[in-house]
Symmetry: C2
């Protein structure tokens, strides 16, 4: 059985309050301080966080509800958020939604029952409803990377539309006019799609239906299937914008299988500077999201929200994503 504060009392003869005070960094006479420290060492005492939480109503635990933990992007986000929070004494309860909105709603519920102090979310759903259990319980939530249809929540994203627009602008500058896009109906997918359209419009290029490849969810499969289809068109695009990391992977697979050279026969531009785009040949030109900043800024806002409640308005941070040039885009025309 683990030692409790009462064992320390028995050992030192001091009162509970004094010991508790010491534990929480209060002032205690040096003589007593030493006694307590000895007893703690002797009994190998460690405070019971559960008991502590029950009375303070703070668990010092943050829920991290993520659309898909297996994705490398999530892993990196998690790494940075976890480092930030750990150094500040917080633990992280991880809940994977596996791309299911139902699971996501359950995860929020789960976090609430676990009495987490706050929640960090990379959401699947775009509707705010799934967050209501947290709201009712007064538990703040910060959205990472993806917005939802509500401006009541703190949110840290990049300007997806603008980033995709700049990426498309770049393709056009390189002489491309037949540009395809592979996106999904998820938040990031639709935003990036809008940026693509805006760029085409600026350049006076009419979007063609056959070059627009929508899908439900970002996945390698989505990229693979649509790239294969694009290659069969009698008027092939000369460049493709993929709106997500996993989609890029699928596109590359298809290109490899069909023996289509990049960038000679097909130019490519993607999102997210993870390990693969740096390893592959040719190096992929891409929009690099500042992952560490997204995670840490989100965590910072969440802790502030936990401290200060709704004393400040919902924060909507939009970070800058830079275009990193690789070798996957060919200048033509």
């Amino acid at each position: 059985m683990a030692a409790t504060i009462k064992d320390i009392r028995a050992e030192t003869g001091l009162g509970l309050a004094t010991i508790s005070k010491y534990l929480n960094g209060g002032n205690v006479r040096t003589e007593n301080r030493q006694k307590i420290e000895e007893a703690i060492k002797k009994l190998d005492y460690h405070p019971n966080e559960t008991a502590r939480s029950l009375v303070t109503k703070r668990t010092r635990t943050i829920g991290f509800v993520v659309n898909n933990i297996a994705s490398n992007f999530s892993g990196v986000l998690l790494q940075h958020a976890s480092a930030y929070l750990h150094t500040r004494g917080y633990g992280m309860m991880i809940c994977d939604s596996s791309l299911s909105e139902k699971q996501e709603a359950e995860n929020i519920r789960f976090c609430v029952e676990k009495q987490v102090d706050g929640i960090l979310i990379v959401s699947s759903s775009r509707e705010a409803a799934f967050l209501s259990p947290a709201e009712k319980a007064g538990i703040p939530a910060v959205l990472l990377d993806r917005e939802i249809k509500s401006d009541a929540f703190d949110c840290v994203t990049i300007d997806n539309r603008n980033a995709a627009e700049r990426a498309t602008d770049y393709l056009i500058e390189c002489g491309h006019r037949k540009i395809a896009v592979i996106c999904s109906e998820e938040y990031t997918g639709t935003e990036r799609y809008k940026g693509y359209l805006a760029s085409l419009e600026k350049a006076g290029i009419k979007p063609r239906d056959s070059y627009i490849c929508p899908g439900q969810i970002h996945s390698p499969e989505l990229g693979y299937r649509n790239m294969k289809r694009l290659l069969k068109l009698k008027e092939r695009p000369t460049a493709v914008l993929t709106t997500n990391y996993e989609v890029s992977l699928g596109v590359i697979m298809a290109l490899n299988e069909e023996g289509v050279g990049c960038p000679e026969d097909m130019s490519l531009i993607g999102f997210d500077e993870l390990i693969l785009p740096m390893v592959m040949k040719p190096k992929l030109t891409l929009v690099a999201q500042p992952m560490e900043e997204i995670a840490c800024e989100g965590a910072r806002i969440l802790l502030k929200r936990i401290e200060e409640g709704s004393s400040f308005p919902p924060q909507r941070v939009s970070l800058y994503a830079s275009l990193k040039s690789g070798e996957s885009v060919k200048r033509i025309g």
Copy 2:
């Protein structure tokens, strides 16, 4: 303020014990059951898990202490473990050790204070000492993917030595005799290195120092640096065994940069069937670890251990890893 069991009492006029019993699935008169259910709905009551934990001494939370959460391999392990545990009512407290043994020891300590019911570990350290806080607190731990120098703990791995031996055997069958290996001093690295040596010995091939590339930690950088070095040797190897996923990535980068074709000019065989080996061209021949099985079997043993204590001896499960052929190994000679 969230509703408590006392609010339910006020609403229904029943005793606390009865309500608690209902909450825990006990028998209650139908009339009372209805009253309680109504009150719960009306007050939007949800049990406070912290309070529950304090008295039951079970948090229904598992600690997941992982050497490096940013790695894709960890993400997949986490995904499966999390799915397994969540359906059984357990949450997961994630702690990233960032490849630091010091951080790892702190993480164990952290989990203990958080009163987790058990710990799943992908360890950095090979010494058992860092686990002693858990042992002292009577919290069971199961090692995933990597053993430590102690047979007192449950452990789920693959037979790394044998897997590497089979991989090397395959290279030899394909006619290779100049085979290099890039490994690390980590558990998996050294085990796989032993398998490499065993295979060479069987075939009567003398290992050459210049073909053996050790390093501290598995990383893309390790693969990159060593592949570059190998390419400069006046007697180049014809094949390379990489003992880890990240290392393979670095090797591929180096090959690409130097314009060395695979498998024409260099054959390659690696570990772990993650996304990259499937996307890259040529498809990488590799040893596929059964990641889902490792995670779920580990979680299963942990829950059993939590239920049954030390009533059964430490489990040491060694799973089979299959060799998946791709196109990265050339037949020669």
